[in-house]
Amino acid sequence: MSHIWRRFWKSRPGVVGLALVLLLLSAAALAPQLASRPPLATSAAAFRPPGVGDLLGTDNLGRDVWSGLLHGARVSLLVGVLSAGFAALIGVTVGAAAGAAGGRVDAFLMRLSDLLQTIPQFFLALLIVALAGRGLWKIVAVLAILGWPLTARLVRAEFLSLREREFVEAARALGMSDLRVALMVILPNAVSPAIVAATLGVAEAILLESGLSFFGLGDPNLISWGLMLQNAQGFLRRAWWMAVFPGLAIFMAVVSFNLFGDGLSDALNPRLRQRT
């Protein structure tokens, strides 16, 4: 394990990414303390530009943008981490099952993941949320259900390649049952692409969630970055700060997970690095 860490520290983007992720997590955790006002609190002071008293300005209903950013971080991180996490869990299970079982099970599962990957995630998520109704947990569920195919494919591929390797043969020769071989020998090795996929998946999920909120399908009882941007659309000329800061927050969150994921990828799969 330690050699993985050492490799990770060598990757500058990875380290920067991790630092940003931790910053984000702490901001989200400390949101109530750091915020100047409850994010949904309206006031008469609408359209105040950034300045003393209103750090990043206020919106059309007098809500504080800074507080909205902090509390929005909670929503984005929650949705991002949970949906990517669940998608990874489902993906690993499905991929392992497909890779290990092979045959018709494999074919069916791959057909299913094909189908899900054909319809662009954003559109399908849009449709489902438009129908099922808005709500935080619904979005997490939808994104998890749409996100597993990628991980499943990666894990399955690893499974298929590892199946034939010597140490697996050795384990079988030692008399381990197929299931034990699958779970204890192959799986730990197959998991590393899943971890990378999950991390990058958080970034993707944050983008998807903010996109859905921007389209008006976010949870209406919570403040989220995408919702703030949708609101800003009608007031671009009047209040640029309503658009600039929430978008910046989304960008930072996505970049941090992408960098972190890249760093992890370098650390876990050095042979994939591009060197000539």
Binding site: I119, L131, S210, G211, F215, L236, W240, A243, T276
Partner: protein
Amino acid sequence: MARYALVRLLQIPPVLLGLVTVIWLVVRLAPGDPVLALVGDFPAPDEYVKRIREEFGLDRSLPEQFFRYVTAVARGDLGFSFVFRRPVLGLVLERAGATALLTVTALLFASLAGVAVGVLSARRPFSWVDGLISGGSVVGFSVPVFWLGQLLILLFAVTLGWLPAQGMVSVRENPEGWARIRDIALHLVLPAAALSLRFLAMTARLARASMLEVLGRDYIRTAQAKGASGARVLIGHALPNAALPVLTLVGYNLGFVLAGSALVETVFGWPGIGRLLYDSVFARDFPVLLGIMIVVSLTVVLANLVTDLLYAYVDPRIRYRA
């Protein structure tokens, strides 16, 4: 090759049917009675409501409705929009041109610029230029496209006033001929720029990786040893090999680009399918939502097919495995 193409073509109808089923099922389970939306602001006579129900076939059983829908789609009839009060197909086709214009422009620009950037960084791997470009591509990949759109509007339209903020054409008297083309082109700049960034980043990364891989191969070194100039090697040998992965990137990622286009069109008021999507989500106009989903899925399936065929044509190994 022909056999492979045939096999792939035959796979399409069942895939489409599967898609339509999934999508239709998801939609029909929706809450709310669509008929009431047509009826309007004040209490309507019951006979009127009944007529509307009959007209839209909403009084039949669920399997029957599904069958009617599938056969209709096969005929090209995507249903009737409750909100726009027009056939869905016409509505979608009318907007398809605008979306195609935006998407193709963005992809073209992103591919060319991405390859150029990727090549540039492959020439001097791990230099500061390379580092900058690599960093830039992570940044480009991470920017939410709708925010980027809003930023571009704020900068170039509101503050500097160089480019229009909304729409596809000017609201002045409809210009004709070259003036119209120029007008549309001006309106196209910002949305296409916003849409292209993510794909540019992906392309740059891929082009760089491909180029490095190709440059490392023996026959390149041989050519270089024989005295071929760097540029010739790059353009004559390495580039064509790097081009294929980029093309397949386009084909397999069309779905993502279309999703981005939906967001960009909403920000810029670009009159395409993406804008229609936003309006129909807002109004919960399910026939239109359904229609768009089907059209988008069909496009993606076709793009995948074309890309697969292209890939198989160039790389014979694929064909034989099918």
